[in-house]
């Protein structure tokens, strides 16, 4: 069987992607010029963007996938909190090993994916409402597991979390000692996920089906695609990635508490949108999403390095950017409709 043709709206995708990457380069260059004294020009600073956002990258990839089908998943922040809490609780209070913890994390993600996917795909309930319930449920379950703040002290887990992989370049510090740049294993996992989703969406039958459904569900159905099944699979994968992302998040924070990862879903959505995913579905790309996350990371490190601005400026700047991209998308979509 032949693979499906690529959709014709790739030009819109390309344009949005270029805007995103351009914006990131511009912002980072501005940061390097303004704060070169505070180490913004060091390669480690750049890698820290990946290190602190590895979980978000994975979660945003799942979000992008769901958004391409025309849906949304706002439960990911709660799933992350639940995963962190369960992982911490199982290892610290029940003496589970770090490997069992991975299984717990992925299992929670899959369970959310199955239930939400079933409700959205087979019962035709609005994705927003379904995942709203998921958001409530996840956060509440986290509190039911424990309301304490549990920090993780499991040795295997900490060894994974703090294992530094050195890269063949680096910088010299103030005393003139050479320090190689390093990343954590989480970064490699995150980048592999981006690559996997990229290949999945671009070169497999499943990926082309996802785009077709997001572009026009009715025509996809007419073409004989199994819309319900594909949607279900997309939500399943999204749930799995939320579980995995949650685990990476736990590796970064090494703790579990109720208020963790609050608002992460909004970060994931805005990263996808800034990365060029159309909210109406049918257009999107994990590479763009990766840059969306990096832009978000750059904004927050610019504002923390600057020092005098308070942390809520991160939110305001991010929303302004989100607004800009949403309006840009709206203009692109309406122009495309006029061309038809």
């Amino acid at each position: 069987m032949k693979t499906l043709k690529r959709p014709r709206n790739l030009s819109a995708t390309g344009f949005l992607l270029i805007v995103t990457i351009g914006l990131f380069v511009l912002m980072y260059a501005a940061g390097m010029l303004a704060f070169s004294g505070q180490g913004f020009a060091k390669p480690q600073m750049f890698l820290n963007l990946f290190i602190s956002n590895a979980g978000l990258i994975v979660i945003s990839c799942g979000m992008t996938l769901v958004m391409i089908t025309g849906g949304i998943d706002i439960s990911v922040g709660s799933v992350t909190a639940l995963v962190c809490m369960v992982v911490a609780y199982q290892m610290e209070r029940n003496g589970a090993s770090a490997f069992t913890a991975i299984l717990f994390a992925l299992g929670i993600g899959l369970a959310f994916g199955i239930v939400q996917g079933f409700l959205v795909a087979y019962l035709d309930i609005q994705p927003f409402i379904v995942s709203l319930a998921g958001l409530f449920f996840g956060r509440g379950m986290t509190a039911i597991v424990s309301t304490d703040m549990i920090s993780i002290k499991n040795e295997t887990f900490l060894a994974w979390a703090k294992y530094q992989i050195y890269l063949p370049f680096g910088s010299t510090n103030k005393k003139g000692i050479y320090q190689p740049a390093y990343i954590y294993p989480t970064v490699i996992v995150a980048l592999l996920v981006v690559l996997f989703i990229f290949i999945l969406l671009r070169y497999t039958k499943f990926g082309r089906k996802v785009y077709a459904i997001g572009g026009n569900q009715q025509s996809a159905l007419m073409m004989g695609l199994n819309v319900r099944r594909t949607k279900f699979e997309a939500y399943l994968l999204d749930g799995f990635l939320a579980g995995l992302g949650g685990f990476l998040f736990a590796l970064n924070s090494c703790a579990g508490f109720v208020e963790q990862a609050k608002g992460l879903e909004m970060d994931a959505i805005s990263s996808s949108v800034i990365g060029g995913t159309l909210l109406s579905g049918g257009v999107g790309n994990p590479i763009g999403t990766l840059f969306g996350v990096l832009i978000k990371g750059t904004i927050s490190s610019l504002i923390t390095t600057q020092g005098t601005l308070s942390s809520w400026w991160v939110r305001i700047a991010l929303s302004a950017l989100l607004c800009f991209f949403i309006v840009l998308q709206s203009i692109i979509t309406s122009r495309k409709q006029k061309q038809r």
Binding site: L123, I129, F136, F137, T147, M266, L322
Partner: protein
């Protein structure tokens, strides 16, 4: 369906069937079940006493605490009906309104014991700020044709930041009795003041909807935007108006809730209340995809949620664990409302009707 033909003329449906078929039956039933379930654990749940000229009791507490939610649910119902989506920024808009109001009253100080500006000016400024927020949401939804939840996501994320900006990141206290009374009690009134705010909002909005054609316009735009455009309705304007109303109502709710704690806590005022408001609309039997709406249903829904919250607190469920039960309720409601379930119920009804006709015609022939 030729429903009228199925019941022969002159023979009315039995009373219980007419009651059960009413659109407010299920929401009311939910509310009553939730309230009655309290009797198991707290037998004196319905007891009401008078202290210092004020009514006190669990039920009064539910009615009092639900006030902000009722106000928000009214706005959310209109937005849902007209645009087929929800405004998730109302909680953040409440924070903005509270921040503007308290900042005007305190004149920039952290804590004051006298007003720096007249109260009416501060309230007007707060309502103006929240109307602006609503107008911004309305612009994105109505003019730019962006999905409501995503358009309002912008203010949802930024709103609390803006509120922090207004109050310079502090919690502004207004320790003035003339301000506190709006959130607590007025001498001579049996009920707390917020209750009257809720009643007034519901009355005014429903009067406006009844006396003008706005209610009809909102429904027709929500049911079929294209068709209502063809009959000459300006859908953009109507949607925009609903978002502005929703913003102003969120502003009123913000004022009430800041008067309760006589301060502007940008991080906590109206936190997660947008989710409760959406839930209230759904509980009231309104379709979240827009179209026909029932204000009374949403109001009952809002009281049900507050009753549920109070009940769970009474059962020693901590506030952190509360969302789990709310999530279960949401899922049950939306599954019952879902097209698949509705189709199942409809086929069941059709079967019943067909059986009855078969029996009747069979009887006529013999």
């Amino acid at each position: 369906m030729p429903e009228a033909k199925l019941t022969s003329p002159g023979q009315k449906k039995p009373l219980w069937r007419r009651i059960a078929g009413h659109h407010l039956f299920l929401p009311l039933l939910c509310l009553i079940v939730v309230l009655l379930s309290n009797l198991i654990k707290t037998p004196d749940f319905f007891a009401i006493t008078i202290q210092n000229g004020m009514l006190r009791g669990y039920v009064i507490d539910v009615v009092n605490r639900a006030s902000e939610l009722v106000i928000l649910a009214v706005g959310m119902t209109l937005v849902t009906a007209a645009s087929g989506g929800q405004d998730i920024s109302v909680g953040a808009v409440m924070a903005v309104s509270a921040a503007v109001c308290c900042q005007m009253l305190s004149g920039g100080e952290v804590s004051v014991t006298t007003f720096s500006n007249p109260l009416i000016l501060a309230v007007l400024a707060a309502l103006l700020a929240s109307a602006l927020c609503g107008a911004f949401n309305g612009f994105l939804v109505a003019k730019m044709h962006i999905q409501p939840m995503v358009a309002t996501l912008i203010l949802y994320t930024a709103g609390r930041g803006i509120a922090q900006l207004v109050t310079n990141g502090q919690i502004t206290y207004v320790r003035v009795d003339a301000y506190k009374m709006w959130g607590s009690a007025l001498p001579g009134l049996l009920f707390p003041v917020p209750v009257f705010f809720a009643i007034a909002v519901v009355l005014i909005v429903s009067l406006v909807l009844k006396k003008t054609a706005l209610g009809l316009y909102i429904e027709s735009v929500g049911i079929n935007g294209n068709a209502s455009r063809l009959v000459g309705l300006n859908g953009t304007k109507i949607k925009w108006i609903t978002y502005i109303i929703c913003g102003i109502l969120a502003g009123i709710a913000g004022f009430v809730s800041s008067a309760r704690i006589y301060s502007a806590d940008a991080n906590n005022i109206g936190l997660n209340l947008e989710m409760d408001a959406i839930l209230a609309v759904a509980l009231g039997g309104n379709i979240l995809g827009g179209g026909k709406f029932s204000l009374a249903g949403s109001v009952i829904g809002a009281y049900t949620i507050q009753a549920l919250t109070t009940t769970l607190y009474a059962m020693n469920v901590s506030s952190d664990q509360l969302p789990v039960y709310k999530a279960v309720v949401v899922i049950i409601i939306v599954v019952l409302q879902s097209p698949t379930a509705q189709k199942l119920i409809a086929t069941q009804r059709l079967h019943h009707a067909a059986n009855r006709i078969a029996r009747q015609t069979g009887g006529d022939n013999t």
